[in-house]
């Protein structure tokens, strides 16, 4: 079983497209693939695979918020002073009040309270869905609840969930969100290899540099996939690759049909022609 990630830093370069292309290629070879959509804020893999709506979650992801017992609380204010997120405030001399929006569920307050007045309330912050798309392709999607600020715990729990499934598959492909923040890093942790998808434009090159630096911190080796490879200046990407000790392993020229299939969300119907578009420089 091999676990890889498809990422990229810049939004809209084609991460989900490439993740699905990789999956299609492996299925053609008779392998079983688990595709994991860890772009929990804005998951799209299901749409590209023709699923209009995610229904019947197989699991919910949760976080904890502090709940203060009015009777036990001595109003000493220690929890308020100890909270580094300023999520607790104490109007006058009353029992402190929680602003959930600022709470990072760190647990400082319930650990410091000298009167044991603070307990933990488990709250749902996301859902996990499973769709068996084809014989040989299963999609697991994580989706955060809109308004939830800290979404990396949702990603963490998605990855925990798939731990139980991984051994039945030959390849696990983790599709990450755009960017390079903690939610993306949680999706990239401990994968064997990452594929950074970019485009041959100045912004593509700039953001590729960012994600390659993050991958270095995470100690995850990365190759580069060049999407829309014939529009722009490939040399920009080659330079970034050289600077970061990475290399472009495959490219996908711009294709009108692919753009249309992407837009409509019907990769599944056209999977044979889609996987032909991925031009590998060496066998992957």
């Amino acid at each position: 079983m091999k676990e890889i990630a498809v990422t990229g830093g810049k939004g809209g370069t084609g991460k989900s497209t490439v993740a699905i292309m990789f999956a299609f290629k492996q299925i053609e070879l008779g392998k079983k693939v688990l595709l994991v959509d860890c772009d929990v804020e804005c998951p799209n893999d299901h749409i590209l695979l023709g699923i209009n709506e995610l229904k019947n979650p197989v699991s919910k992801t949760t976080t904890f918020y502090p709940v203060i017992d009015d009777d036990k609380c001595t109003k000493c204010g220690l929890c308020v002073r100890s909270c580094r997120s300023s999520a607790l405030f104490q109007p006058g001399d009353s029992v402190p009040v929680l602003n959930k929006d600022l709470c990072s569920s760190c647990g400082v307050c319930w650990n410091v309270c000298p009167s044991n007045a603070i307990s933990k309330e488990e709250v749902v912050n996301g859902e996990i869905f499973r769709n068996d798309i084809l014989d040989g392709l299963t999609l697991v999607t994580g989706r955060s609840i809109p308004g939830v600020r800290e979404t990396s715990p949702v990603v963490e729990q998605v990855r925990d969930y798939i731990d139980g499934l991984k051994s039945s598959f030959d390849l696990v492909v983790i599709d990450t969100a755009a960017g390079a923040h903690c939610t993306v890093m949680r999706a990239l942790e401990d994968v064997e290899k990452a594929y950074s998808v970019t485009e041959p434009t100045p912004l593509g090159a700039h953001d590729l540099s960012v994600i390659l630096r993050v991958l270095k911190v995470l100690k995850v080796p990365s190759d580069i996939v060049l999407n829309r490879s014939d529009i722009g200046n490939k040399a920009l990407i080659d330079e970034v690759a050289r600077k970061h000790g990475s290399n472009v392993c495959c490219e996908i020229p711009y294709d009108d049909d692919l753009a249309r299939f992407y837009s409509e969300g019907n990769f599944l119907e056209h999977r044979l022609s889609i996987s032909k578009l991925l031009k590998l420089y060496k066998s992957q």
């Binding site: 989900s16 804020e41 804005c42 760190c106 960017g179 912004l203 992407y262």
Partner: protein
């Protein structure tokens, strides 16, 4: 007045639109452009600040939006209490002492409180470079760049915004280019906005993400308008998005050769002339109309 451009989905044209709107607004108003994407800021690049000019930043310095634990190897007994307590899995057993996994650490300080031998001290970490450039359009652009592997993007966005606010002259229009997604960094940019310009491209994926982004905008009760980019790529879907937006529809941008050239050459779309300039000017007029009462 503060206008935030967001989308949910990445790569649909937030920075392209934000930079062009900033230029159009600057012809009538004092403008401050703020890049609220602190992972991979692109707005300054769109506004003509290339890498060679970056050394000429008006101001550029490191800021700290987080404290992280420093563990004294000589005092640490590796009792493991901090490891067990940490809710973020940010501590691990090293050879001589407990070690920090920096990108997992939220800086809450629980380990410092829990440690029975006072081996841990929270110290400020410089995790973000704040830069202020003066553009050739006579307005400033402010951005932040988080150090690779550091967390706390939301707090960094808040600090970038605070700095940008100090540059505010009378009746300034602040154009904020939001990050992709709908989590912490995006929420940190939405808070206190007067108006949101939500951008979608003509794809089912982007339409889905637009709806999720607008769920969050509605939670903050902020008025918004919708722009459809790459309109002609799939007119059926573009029309669906336009219908969904109703009277909040601000306009569409077709996927012209000029737009592609704009991205490849990194020149603001509004300066490309021709159709895309007209489309952007129409969108600008509609934004002005929609935000009339907010000035």
């Amino acid at each position: 007045m503060r206008i935030t451009v967001l989308s949910g989905k990445g790569g649909v044209g937030k920075s392209m639109l934000a930079s062009s709107l900033a230029i159009l607004f600057s012809k009538k108003f004092n403008v401050i452009a703020v890049d609220c994407d602190v992972d991979a800021p692109n707005l300054a690049l769109w506004l003509g600040i290339d890498n060679s000019k970056k050394g000429g930043a008006f101001k550029s310095y490191m800021i700290s939006t987080v404290e992280k634990p420093i563990i004294d190897e000589d005092v640490c007994t590796k009792c493991g209490k901090c490891l067990d307590a940490c809710n973020f899995g940010a501590l691990s057993n090293g050879k001589r002492a407990v070690e920090l996994i920096p990108y997992r650490c939220e800086g809450c300080g629980l380990c410092e409180i829990i440690c029975p031998v006072d081996a841990i001290e929270m110290k400020k970490v410089e995790n973000c470079t704040l830069s202020h450039y003066e553009t050739e359009y006579d307005f400033p652009v402010v951005q932040g760049q988080i150090e690779p592997g550091e967390a706390e993007s939301g707090e960094a966005v808040t600090e970038i915004r605070k700095y940008a606010d100090t540059l505010c002259k009378k009746d300034a229009v602040i154009i904020q280019d939001g990050a992709a997604g709908i989590g912490c960094p995006v929420i940190a940019s939405i808070v206190g906005s007067d108006y949101v310009v939500a951008v979608a491209e003509s794809s089912m994926s982007s339409f889905s993400d637009l709806k999720r982004a607008l769920e969050v905008v509605n939670q903050f009760k902020i008025p918004y308008g919708v722009v459809v980019n790459k309109y002609d790529l799939n007119k059926n879907i573009s029309n669906e998005i336009m219908k969904f937006a109703g009277d909040r529809y601000l306009g569409g941008i077709n996927y012209h050769k000029d737009v592609i050239k704009s991205i490849v050459d990194l020149k603001p779309a509004v300066e490309m002339g021709g159709n895309v300039r007209k489309e952007l000017e129409d969108i600008f007029q509609n934004v002005l109309e929609s935000t009339k009462g907010l000035f």
